[in-house]
Symmetry: C2
Subunit: 93 residues, 2 copies
DNA sequence: TGACGTTATGCGATTATGCGCATATCCTTA
DNA sequence: TAAGGATATGCGCATAATCGCATAACGTCA
């Protein structure tokens, strides 16, 4: 759970749901220092959420657990419910 | 996501999947200072994961988002996969 | 082998989290 | 209104997470 507690890591996982990607591609997504990106990926790997594969100079990361998508969907639901609640509160006024 | 990044909070949510509970009951589960518990619950509430309801002196918390169970199941899968991987590595030696 | 592209790691500084104590707040009941 | 139980909050300290820079490690190709 801690491994997903950072916006950049959520972004990374989210991007990897579309398939394997190398660090260089991920680096374009996240506006962050390269060393930081590498660290975030290491955290996800240590947590068993992603795995890596070397191919030439590049390292490719891929999602190890597709079920994580459901967790994200739930998170989206939570946010939606929150928005709805705020709206209802506004209307009530 | 951050809201679930602490073992105590995972425990709390997990316990709340069984139904509404008051702070006093939750306090028995988590071996933690009462003020800390209150803070953790506040974090979950702010994240929209739980909601509270006052009834006399006691405050009852309940899960706002049952789908969170799926997220936990996924976490369990990740851990299981990790254990399996370790075993396979051992066997290979 | 040497230069270069890609990714990882060591380190120090900064910031965010969590904890425990004391205390405030809210509610009930005498 | 006063006392007491249940819960929340202010504060200071300790620890952990993150960041950016510099540099190391790894692989390729001339």
């Amino acid at each position: 759970m801690k491994a997903l507690a950072h916006p950049v890591r959520v972004l990374l996982v989210s991007s990897l749901t579309e398939g394997e990607q190398c660090v260089c591609e991920l680096n374009k997504l996240a506006d962050i220092d390269q060393s930081g990106l590498s660290r975030h990926l290491a955290i996800l790997k240590k947590a068993g959420i992603v795995s890596d594969r070397r191919e030439g100079m590049k390292v490719f990361y891929r999602l190890e657990t597709p079920c994580i998508l459901k967790a994200f969907e739930c998170a989206v639901d939570v946010v939606k419910a929150d928005v709805k609640r705020r709206n209802d509160t506004l209307k009530a006024v």
